[in-house]
C-alpha cells in the first residue's frame, strides 16, 4: 500500500485559499478551534507514530489498498475506451468516506478530544464516523436532516447500533446543509472537548485540505496499481462530485500530469434546464457558505436554494473550493448527469459486471460510458467507484414502483 507521506502541497495557501476560493469564513468563536485544528493537523502529519498508526488502520481496518478492476465486458459493449474501476465500494462500511473518518478520528484522539460530532446526508459519512467512534471509544453525535432521516432509515439504525446518537435537524430544508449548520452550532458550543469530523472537502480551512489529504490515498494507490495492471496511467479520470471528496481523492495525485484528462460529474437531477439539480459548478455562481468561498446554488438575493438529486450523497448546494479552483483554472472539466442517466448506468454495471454501485458513483459511471464511446479501445478511463449500492435498494425500487 502507498504510505501516507507529507503530502501538504502548495495549495491552499496558509489561510486556506485555492485562488479566490476556500478561506475561513466563520464567526470569531470558531477561529481559535480552527487554528488549533490546523496546527494539530500540520504537526501530526509530520509525526511518524501518527502516520504509521494511520497506515496500519487503513490496511487492517479499512481493508486497503482497494483493488482496481478492469470492467472488460462493459467496456466491450460500450465499444470504446477500456474502463477501469477503483473499488472504494469494497472498503469497510462500503464507501470512500471511511478513509477520512479514520484519519480525523485518529487526529481527534491524538488531540485529546473525547467527543465526536458529524453531519450526514445519505448517512454514509454518519455511519463511517459512528464506526470509528465506536472503535476508539469516543462519544459520537451525528446531525441529520429530518427529511434525510425519513428516507435513510437503515443508515439511521446502523448509526444507533454503533452507539451514536442521531439528532434530527428540523430547521431550513431539513437536509444535509442544515445538518452542517447544526453541527457547526454544536461545535461552537462544545469546542473544548469536541472534534467535528466534516465528511467532505468543504467547510472552513483546514477541512478542504485535510479531507483531501486523507482521501488522496485513493489516487496514490491508483498510480501504482495502474502501472502494474495496465502498464500505464489512464487517459482520463472520472469521479462524481457532491462535496467532492472522492473526486479530489482520485484527482489530487494526478494534477501534475496535464496529459491525463479529469472529469468531475455533478448531479443534474431532472436536468440542468429544469432547475431541479445539484450542480453548482455547472450551473451555479461563486458565493460564501459553510465557511468557504465556492460555487453555490443560490437565488438572486444570495439565499441558498434547495437542491435535487436521486442520490442523497450528491444533494448539496455547495462544492469543495479546490474543485471551484480546478474548474476556473481549466485543469478539470465538470459535467452533469441526470437521475435517469445515472440509473441506467446503475443497472448496466449491476447486470454486466455483477457490481451494484452506489447511486452517487453511478453518475460517474454514466459519464464514463458516454466518454468511452468517443475514445478508442486502446485508451483507458479510470472511474472512482466511490461506494456500493446496497444502501440505495429502496430508492431504486421505489423509482420503479416496487415496494420492498
Amino acid at each position: 500500500m502507498e504510505t501516507t507521506e507529507q503530502i501538504i502541497g502548495s495549495l491552499p495557501d496558509n489561510r486556506g485559499h485555492f485562488g479566490p476560493y476556500g478561506g475561513l469564513f466563520v464567526s470569531e468563536t470558531l477561529m481559535a478551534p480552527l487554528q488549533e485544528l490546523q496546527q494539530a493537523y500540520e504537526h501530526f502529519m509530520k509525526d511518524q507514530a501518527f502516520l504509521e498508526e494511520l497506515d496500519q488502520d487503513l490496511v487492517h481496518y479499512v481493508g486497503r489498498p482497494s483493488p482496481i478492476y478492469h470492467a472488460q465486458r462493459w467496456s466491450e459493449q460500450l465499444g470504446g475506451a477500456q474502463i477501469y474501476l477503483k473499488r472504494e465500494d469494497l472498503n469497510h462500511t462500503g464507501a470512500h468516506k471511511v478513509n477520512n473518518t479514520v484519519g480525523q478520528a485518529l487526529l481527534a484522539r491524538y488531540m485529546g478530544k473525547t467527543r465526536i460530532i458529524a453531519e450526514t446526508g445519505a448517512g454514509q459519512h454518519g455511519v463511517a464516523s459512528a464506526t470509528v467512534a465506536a472503535r476508539l471509544g469516543l462519544e459520537c453525535v451525528v446531525y441529520m436532516g429530518a427529511v434525510d432521516i425519513a428516507r435513510q432509515e437503515a443508515n439511521v439504525y446502523r448509526m444507533r447500533l454503533l452507539g451514536a446518537e442521531v439528532r434530527a435537524v428540523e430547521s431550513g430544508s431539513k437536509t444535509l446543509k442544515d445538518a452542517l449548520n447544526e453541527a457547526m452550532r454544536d461545535w461552537v458550543t462544545n469546542v473544548d472537548n469536541t472534534f467535528y469530523i466534516i465528511g467532505t472537502v468543504a467547510g472552513p480551512h483546514p477541512y478542504p485540505a485535510m479531507v483531501r489529504d486523507f482521501q488522496s490515498v485513493i489516487g496514490r494507490e491508483a498510480r501504482s496499481q495502474m502501472v502494474q495492471q495496465a502498464g500505464r496511467q489512464p487517459d482520463a479520470l472520472v469521479a462524481c462530485v457532491g462535496g467532492g471528496s472522492n473526486a479530489i481523492g482520485l484527482f489530487y495525485p494526478y494534477l501534475d500530469d496535464p496529459e491525463i484528462a479529469i472529469y468531475g460529474v455533478e448531479a443534474a437531477g431532472d436536468g440542468l434546464e429544469t432547475g431541479n439539480h445539484a450542480a453548482p459548478l455547472c450551473a451555479g455562481r461563486p458565493g460564501v457558505l459553510h465557511g468557504n468561498r465556492t460555487y453555490l446554488m443560490e437565488d438572486a438575493d444570495g439565499q441558498i436554494i434547495e437542491t435535487h438529486s436521486i442520490s442523497a450523497g450528491l444533494d448539496y448546494p455547495g462544492v469543495g473550493p479546490e474543485h471551484a479552483w480546478l474548474k476556473d483554472s481549466g485543469r478539470a472539466n465538470y459535467v452533469a448527469v441526470t437521475d435517469d442517466q445515472a440509473l441506467a448506468a446503475f443497472h448496466d454495471l449491476t447486470r454486466i459486471e455483477g457490481i451494484i454501485p452506489a447511486l452517487e458513483s453511478s453518475h460517474a459511471l454514466a459519464y464514463a460510458a458516454k466518454l468511452a464511446a468517443t475514445m478508442s479501445p486502446e485508451q483507458i478511463i479510470l472511474v472512482n467507484l466511490s461506494g456500493r449500492g446496497d444502501k440505495d435498494m429502496h430508492t431504486v425500487a421505489a423509482r420503479e414502483g416496487i415496494q420492498l
Binding site: L24, F25, V26, E28, T29, A32, T189, L289, H290, Q303
Partner: protein
Amino acid sequence: MSRIARKFSQLRAEGRKALIPFITAGDPIPEITVDLMHDLVSAGADLIELGVPFSDPMADGPVIQRASERALEYHVSLRDVLEMVAQFRQLDTDTPVLLMGYLNPIEVMGYEQFADKAAEAGVDGILVVDIPPEEGGDLQRLLQAKAIDQIYLVAPTSTTERIQRICDLAGGFVYYVSIKGVTGASHLDLHSLDEKLDEIRAVTELPVGVGFGIKDAETAAAVSRLADAVVVGSALVSRVEALAEAPEKIGASLREVISSMRLAMDRAE
C-alpha cells in the same frame, strides 16, 4: 464623527450605557419592521441592530433562525432591508442602525454596490458574522470610504493576539460574544465576562458591547455595569415569534421588554 461614535460619546457624557435591541428585518411580516424600529427607540433603545435574513444562519440559535425563515417567506432581500433603513431615516436621523447578517447576500450584490447603497440608506455599521478580520479587508476598505463602521466580534475563545488584531481593525464598537455558543443560549458568566472585558479594554479605546445570552432586565443591568453596551436579540425575537399571528401586538410587547431593561440599566449606574 460617525453616528455610532457620536451616540457613544453622548451616552458616556450622560453616564449611561447603550441598549441595543436586535430584530430581524421582515419578521414576522415586512410591513411592520420600520414601525418596530421606531417603537424600540421610543422605549429607550440607543442603537438598532437589524438582522438581514439568510437561509443558513450558522452562528445563530433556533430562535433567530426561525425569524430568518419567517422573513424569507416574504423573500425579504438585502435590498429590501436597505429600503427599510432608508424609510426609518425619514423620521429618525439620530439613532445609529447596524445591519447584522451573513456574507453571501453581500457577495451577490457586490461589495461596492453594497457600500454605496448602505451609505445612501443611512446605515452606520455592518456586522458580518462570517467574516473574520482575515477575510474582511476588501469589504472594510469600501465601507470605510463611505464612513460605515465594520463591527467585529470578539469571542471567549479569542486569544490575546487576536483581540489586539480585531480591535485594531474594528470601528464603532467591539462586540463581545459573551458565551461559547450560538445566539440565544444561556449560561452567561459575569465573572469571566469581567475578566475578558478588562483584556479587551487593555488594547482598545473603543466602547465594548456585550451580546448573546442576555435574556432579561436583571441580566441586562448586570452586564451594563461591566460593558458600554448591551445587545438583546433572542429575548425580543421570541416575543415576535409568540405574536407572529397577531403582528399588531408586537410593538407594545417589545416596548415593554426594552423599557424594563432601560429602567434596570439606568438604575444600575
